[in-house]
């Protein structure tokens, strides 16, 4: 930054949306411009959410199908042949279909649901509303971000219908399985579509992330200093930074993979013999190289998934405990620490690849260091709840559930972060249990918490509470019943990614347990359908909101009209005078961020 800025700074000091204080409701909107190619951040958020729900149902259904195989390996289900055709001949899911289901389940849940569906929805919805902006920095890029995601989804969906089936080499797409067409049916055109879909997804994520960062930094309303931001915004900001810096590395990895697949290169290939084809000419590449490139994204990716949930949970816990968040600055600091460490631990996914043990020990150290900021966050959440005047709204229940799951799953992370223990635990059901609880289900709970909490702001109506409580308790108990037993299976050495365990003498003892897990998985899946019914029913028939601020919350989104138009506030954007967490201060139940500091008020 030099003096060159001074020439034109008067024209550029203020972002265009801040200059323009008239609201935008008057211009005519067609169905297409309002619901399809919308540039309103709130509509784009809903588009992300509904698309995310679609993928969650599909990805969840896939898990039910492969749990059916794992729970009932001997049974035959003729209806499976009706829906899957040749992939379930005689009512048995074929091994190829099983691996395709597992792979697509992982890809879809990690990227489409918990990345796009979670931060796409809530970054779009909450950033402008909570920082006091009329829209994103670039609404057009925001719209493009959704449509690239949509396109990525279309390509992924089409891969399910190609003759050789979708990609089946696991969501990590390790070569040589992913690089050689001859390696498996799923590595043929299914993998081409998978990689195209993922490339489109990277573009979508980049467009979104750049927008979120620029909006948070540049477009905060007057008085909204960085340390007055709600923790949701800090979390979404760090998420965006992680995405912008880690997805490009995955993209490089994918480009090399595309060359290996299509143009005869050997970036990842060396000394390979394929049955029926013979020895391949590829020399000098390294399959491990791909793993480095993949996990350099892959590990930040788990924080891309987790941080938005952490942010929303912090906000919802504080609002519904009617207490200020405990350790606001420590929360920001620990999220910052997590964001930095996220880039320095990727090789803990590769302890058993032949990694130098000395290098491994450094990655152990850095991995275990993450326990420090994670523990700070957990204790801050617990102390926020401590002696709070808790309102058990559905959003609050899911937030508390998130904290519970994060603790349970986080503790097993300490086991897995040890390279010595990892020799025994890697690639077992212990890993499955760990990452599903700490990242998958926990973030899903954060997402549910966010949906229940901000649904009134999104649609001007409430979700049905009774259905919400049923949804919470069955999902919460079900999540533990599904994943807790997997720890035992994993400790006993039961490996992941196998089609049928009944032929293994050592794992026969788990056949009842597997059936139990599968049964619970089906029940939990059915309850999610109940949630979706609630979601769409309440959109049209739910109890109407009568007040702007149903949760008596301090943040800015609740100062907008019940159904805000494009531009969010009628008249001027409110000015902010305080942080977001003045709950129970000086005997006042809550003080909105837009209330000026009173003369007799104590400082915090």
């Amino acid at each position: 930054m030099s003096s060159t800025f001074s020439d034109h700074s008067s024209a550029t000091l203020v972002a265009p949306h801040l200059l323009d204080d008239t609201h935008h409701e008057h211009h005519h909107e067609t169905f297409i411009s309002k619901y399809v190619f919308s540039m309103d951040h709130k509509m784009i958020a809903k588009q992300f959410l509904v698309t995310g729900i679609f993928w969650a149902v599909l990805g969840g259904l896939m898990s039910v199908l492969f749990r059916l195989q794992l729970g009932y390996p001997d049974a035959s289900f003729p209806w499976l042949e009706d829906i899957l055709g040749k992939w379930a001949k005689g009512g048995h899911i074929t091994p190829e279909a099983y691996y395709a289901l597992v792979t697509t389940h992982g890809t879809v849940l990690v990227f489409f649901v918990l990345t796009a569906g979670l931060s796409g929805t809530f970054a779009n919805f909450l950033i402008p509303l909570q920082i006091g902006a009329r829209d994103m920095a670039s609404p057009f890029m925001n719209m493009l971000s959704f449509w690239f995601f949509f396109l990525a989804g279309l390509v992924m969906l089409s891969s399910i219908f190609v003759e050789t089936g979708p990609f089946s080499g696991g969501w990590t797409a390790y070569p040589p399985l992913s690089a050689l067409r001859e390696a498996s049916p799923g590595s043929k055109s299914g993998m081409d579509l998978w990689i195209i879909s993922m490339a489109l997804f990277v573009v979508s994520s980049l467009l979104g992330g750049l927008n979120y960062i620029a909006t948070v930094l540049n477009m905060r309303t007057k008085g909204m200093s960085m340390t007055r931001l709600p923790l949701t915004i800090w979390a979404l900001f760090f998420t965006a930074v992680l995405g912008v810096l880690s997805f490009p590395v995955l993209f490089s990895g994918f480009i090399l993979l595309i060359f290996d697949r299509n143009f005869g290169t050997s970036f990842y290939l060396s000394d390979i013999y394929v049955n029926g084809v013979g020895a391949l000419p590829n020399e000098g590449g390294s399959a491990i190289l791909y793993q480095h490139l993949f996990w350099f994204l892959g590990h930040p990716e788990v924080y891309i998934i987790l941080l938005p949930a952490m942010g929303m949970v912090s906000e919802i816990l504080s609002t519904n405990a009617r207490k200020p968040i405990f350790g606001y600055m420590a929360m920001i600091g620990s999220m910052f620490a997590i964001a930095i460490l996220a880039f320095l631990v990727w090789a803990h996914h590769m302890f058993v690849t032949g990694l130098n043990p000395f290098l491994g020990s450094i990655f152990v150290l850095l991995t275990l260091l993450i326990a420090v900021p994670s523990a700070i966050k957990v204790f801050n959440w617990l102390t926020t709840l401590w002696r709070g005047n808790i309102r058990f709204t559905p959003g609050m229940l899911f937030s508390i559930g998130f904290v519970s799951l994060f603790i349970s799953g986080g503790l097993t992370g300490i086991w897995l972060g040890n390279s010595a223990l990892d020799i025994h635990l890697h690639d077992t059901y212990f890993v499955i249990a760990h990452f599903h609880i700490v990242m998958g289900v926990a973030s899903m709970f954060g997402m549910f918490a966010g949906i229940y909490h901000w649904y009134p702001k999104m649609f001007g109506r409430y979700l049905n509470n009774t259905l919400a409580y049923i949804h919470f308790w069955i999902t919460f108990l079900g999540a533990y019943l599904i994943f807790w037993p997997m720890h035992y299976e994993g400790l006993a050495g039961m490996p992941r990614r196998y089609y049928d365990y009944s032929i293994w003498e050592s794992f026969k003892q788990f056949s009842d347990l597997n059936r139990f897990i599968s049964t619970v998985a089906m029940i939990v899946f059915a309850v999610q359908l109940l949630f979706i019914a609630n979601f769409f029913y309440s959109m049209f028939k739910g109890r109407k909101l009568l007040t702007q601020n149903p949760w008596n919350s301090n943040t800015l989104e609740w100062t907008t009209p019940i159904n805000p138009g494009h531009g969010n506030w009628e008249g001027d954007i409110p000015e902010v005078y305080r942080w977001a967490y003045d709950y129970g201060k000086d005997g006042t139940e809550f003080i909105s961020q837009v209330t000026p500091i009173g003369s007799s008020e104590s400082t915090h």
Binding site: A137, L206, N218
Partner: protein, 227 residues
């Protein structure tokens, strides 16, 4: 930085209602995009380094890149042609700086002239790259095929050419995008778009991208031609 901090106390910059960095959002996005792109190239070059240092040998760039257009057969002029290419690209960065500078002065004809020079520089670089690629191709080099021996005379893996074509190709694609962006900027300037807006900020953002692409070339050049 000094200019800003003396006129505006730093605590006021972050209080909301204005950009803390004194830039509009587009430039901020461009900076973050360039960081992102730096990671893409970083990943490529680190992959290249990893594979190269785990290989038993590598071709000698002085032997591979030793010709230039219309040169007699068998000439030994190591790195002459690529030096010219690099020089062209660096000069195009200079003309870009001048275009941005003229934009600050709201001097339309100065912007137009320097943008045209930058575009010519970009096209010249791409043409040089096209010649070099076709020359290597005529020698039998391509993705998956490497006619060059290691410096010690032993058989080389194909990864020398694999990485060369992928990374210089990816960089060339960036240069091509930059030329297209600069052409769009030129057309917008000629149509008086920036005169109407009252500032030439878009030229500055295009300039950031262009300089970044040039900077990346310095690393690509070092990794493939010098080391």
């Amino acid at each position: 930085m000094a200019v800003i901090s003396t006129t505006l106390p730093s605590e006021k910059l972050w209080t909301g209602g204005k950009s803390p960095f004194n830039v509009e959002y587009g430039k901020l996005m461009m900076w973050y995009f360039l960081m992102s792109d730096a990671f893409t190239f970083g990943a490529f070059l680190i992959s290249y380094g990893t594979i190269r240092f785990s290989s038993n040998g590598w071709p000698d760039p002085n032997e591979v890149f030793r010709s230039f257009p219309l040169a007699p057969e068998g000439i030994h002029a190591p790195l002459v042609f690529v030096s010219i290419m690099t020089f062209i690209l660096i000069i195009s960065s200079v003309t870009m700086v001048l275009a941005v500078h003229e934009g600050h002065k709201m001097n339309k004809s100065g912007v137009v002239n320097n943008l045209i020079l930058t575009i010519i520089g970009g096209i010249a670089f791409l043409s040089c790259q096209a010649w070099e690629w076709s020359h290597l191709y005529s020698e039998g080099a391509w993705w998956g095929s490497n006619p060059f021996l290691n410096a010690d005379g032993s058989q080389s893996s194909t990864n020398f050419t694999n990485y060369f074509f992928t990374i210089t190709g990816f960089h060339g694609f960036h240069v091509l995008s930059g030329v297209v962006i600069n052409i769009v900027m030129l057309i917008m300037t000629l149509l008086d778009k920036f005169e109407q807006r009252g500032h030439y900020l878009m030229i500055e953002k295009a300039g950031l991208y262009w300089h970044f692409v040039d900077l990346v070339w310095v690393f690509v050049f070092t990794c493939f031609y010098l080391i």
